[in-house]
């Protein structure tokens, strides 16, 4: 069993797939920034941002259902914002009573909560489109263009290269453990000894993984040295942006800027 399913990239020929990764990256971050800047309760702006995200999803030909399903993964964190419904002062909306406890929800609180949930949901959709339509090497090009230090970019690259190798090793470790401790997968079957024993076993596996990783990194380093590595990270200069991509970039940033200003002016 290999872990290539880890990579969220989905090959395609859509307009979004073919867009320069630098433009995609800047626009995705600008979109998320716009969503973050939008004041709570500015519903028209949220509707337009959502429509924009939907438009991008449709253009990317990834499938609306696919993006929505993956976007659900980010939702559990919404729980962290739930209490704000009851604690923000404002017009009372409804009351809950849990035994002797009384909670009063306010309209302002609900507005804040829905705004936070919407912001995060729309933002994560754009992030999904970015990572599903851009292979990792192109993301690294975007990072270089964003002036991330070269060394850090090359650490990212090596990490991505060996992530699959080490994730495979981690899965082999997990499989070996289930084989030896007779995991049946049946509900109610107890597996292994006490909690601290299980923790120690998992820890031993982690230690094993780190040890293999450190030794592997030694071998990789020696292999790199023997191929002429001298500590300097060299890469090809970035190609210039094509005129069409410049146009997309400028139009996108202008559009998002207008939406942000619109939100500020009328709802800020």
């Amino acid at each position: 069993m290999h872990i290539h399913f880890l990579d969220p990239f989905i090959a395609g020929q859509s307009a979004i797939h073919r867009l320069d990764p630098r433009v995609k990256f800047v626009l995705a971050v600008a979109f998320i920034l716009t969503a973050a800047l939008t004041p709570s309760g500015a519903w028209p702006v949220y509707v337009l941002l959502f429509a924009l995200a939907m438009g991008v999803i449709v253009l990317s030909e990834l499938g609306v259902g696919f993006v929505f399903r993956r976007a659900v993964l980010a939702l559990p964190f919404v729980l962290a914002a739930l209490p704000v419904i009851f604690t923000l002062p404002g017009v009372p909306l409804f009351s809950l009573s849990l035994g002797s406890w009384g909670l009063t929800a306010t309209a302002d609180g609900v507005e804040r909560f829905v705004s936070i949930a919407l912001k995060s949901w729309i933002s994560v959709q754009i992030a999904i489109v970015l990572s599903s339509s851009t292979p990792f090497p192109e993301l690294m090009v975007a990072m270089r263009a964003a002036r991330v230090p070269r060394l850090l970019v090359s650490i990212f690259g090596l990490m991505w290269r060996y992530l699959f190798v080490l994730a495979d090793e981690a899965m082999r470790l997990l499989r070996a453990r289930s084989a030896r401790s007779g995991a049946t997968g049946l509900p109610g079957m107890k597996v292994g000894g006490s909690i601290s024993w299980r923790g120690r076993v998992a820890g031993g596996m982690a230690g094993n993984l780190f040890l293999r990783a450190i030794e592997r990194s030694d071998r990789i380093y020696v292999a790199m040295l023997s191929r002429g590595y001298d500590g300097e990270v060299r890469d090809l200069p970035l190609p210039p942006l094509r005129a069409l991509h410049w146009l997309v970039l400028i139009c996108g940033v202008a559009l998002l800027g207008m939406l942000a200003i619109f939100g500020f002016l009328f709802y800020g």
């Binding site: 880890l6 020929q13 971050v29 998320i32 920034l33 969503a35 973050a36 800047l37 028209p44 509707v47 429509a51 924009l52 939907m54 438009g55 030909e61 993956r70 980010a74 559990p76 962290a80 209490p83 704000v84 604690t87 936070i116 912001k119 995060s120 933002s123 992030a127 999904i128 990572s131 990792f136 993301l139 060394l151 650490i155 090596l158 990490m159 991505w160 992530l163 080490l166 090793e169 981690a170 899965m171 909690i195 923790g199 076993v201 998992a202 820890g203 031993g204 982690a206 230690g207 993984l209 780190f210 040890l211 990783a213 450190i214 990194s217 380093y221 001298d230 002016l265 009328f266 800020g268």
Partner: protein, 317 residues
């Protein structure tokens, strides 16, 4: 399974722009300095070692053990990375892990990536380092310092990082301090026990097989009192600020004042167009409906265009 199960990766939308940008600035400074320091210490070995270890931490987060009632213990890895590699390299490793989680797997947002790196990388590492070094000194070279220190360092890295997350949420007005702090702190005080158990297990394995890594690892050679002090300060600040903030949520009043200040700064902008919503639109819900119609039209026409080009491509090939 592929996602770190700790509710600690903040998604986009939960932090205010101000908090995100301030933490980005802090993160860039510290990571930039770490790059320099690690470059001096490790030289050209740096890139392969950091890259592969970041991959190992990421993969190590898949290793779990069942606790009770369908929950399981996992590894975040700040403590073990700090113990094996020293603080500066650990910061780089965790920056890479958290960065890839956000960029590729949407585990944490992009705008708040600075905050996530700050919490898990910088706070987690500094606190681990402070606790671990302190126990090492207390134990004076005896092995119990490694294991007790490792357990408490792992627990504290999770707990203090969770307090940092809760405080940031409170500052952003996303979650009230008097609820977020006890909730995040309480949950992670338990999750931290799992982290501690795995970390001790890993240390025990490494102590038995490669004692040199644990006793003479980079973390020991490159002792840095600046990081020790930073860890102490972060731990103290968060440990003191948290109960204060949760006992007196009004203590965050100055944030509200800041908000008021920002609103005031925005006032003249608003006055440019007084009592005027959109040309010809006086009603807010009408504006929302119009925006909805406009949005639906945009999406409809894009879908139409994509369907058209798809058909053309289909017939062409």
């Amino acid at each position: 399974m592929l996602y770190a199960p700790l509710p600690m990766h903040i998604p986009d939308g939960f932090l205010s722009v101000l908090v995100s940008l301030v933490l980005w600035a802090a993160t860039i400074l510290v990571v930039g300095y770490s790059l320099r320091r690690v470059g001096q210490d490790l030289g050209e070995r740096q890139a392969p070692l950091m890259g592969v270890l970041a991959a190992a931490i990421f993969a190590g987060q898949m290793l779990n053990f069942t606790v009770a009632g369908g929950t399981s213990g996992h590894l975040m890895g700040a403590a073990i990375a700090t113990i094996l590699l020293g603080p500066w390299a650990a910061i780089l490793v965790l920056t890479t892990v958290v960065g890839v989680q956000a960029l590729v797997f949407q585990d944490g947002g992009l705008l708040v990536l600075g905050a996530n790196i700050f919490n898990m990388g910088i706070v987690g590492v500094a606190v681990s380092y402070f606790v671990y070094r302190t126990f090492q000194r207390l134990a004076n070279g005896k092995p119990w310092g490694i294991f007790v220190g490792g357990f408490i360092a792992a627990w504290a890295s999770i707990f203090i990082a969770a307090l940092a997350v809760a405080l940031q949420l409170a500052f952003s007005g996303t979650s009230p301090a008097n609820i977020a702090l006890p909730a995040m702190g309480g949950i992670h005080a338990l999750i931290g026990l799992g982290e501690g158990l795995i970390t001790v297990g890993a240390l025990a394995f490494l102590y038995a097989t490669r004692r040199d890594l644990v006793t003479a690892g980079e973390g020991q050679v490159k002792a840095s009192s600046a990081v020790w002090v930073a860890g102490l300060l972060i731990a103290l600040a968060l440990a003191i600020a948290s109960p204060l903030a949760s006992a007196h949520p009004d203590g965050l009043e100055w944030v509200a004042e800041q908000r008021g200040f920002l609103d005031a700064a925005r006032e003249p902008l608003y006055n440019v167009i007084p009592d005027y919503v959109l040309p010809g639109i006086a009603n807010e819900s009408l504006a929302t409906i119009l925006a909805g119609i406009l949005g639906a039209l945009i999406v409809f026409f894009i879908a139409l265009g994509v369907a058209y080009t798809r058909r053309k491509r289909g017939t062409a090939s």
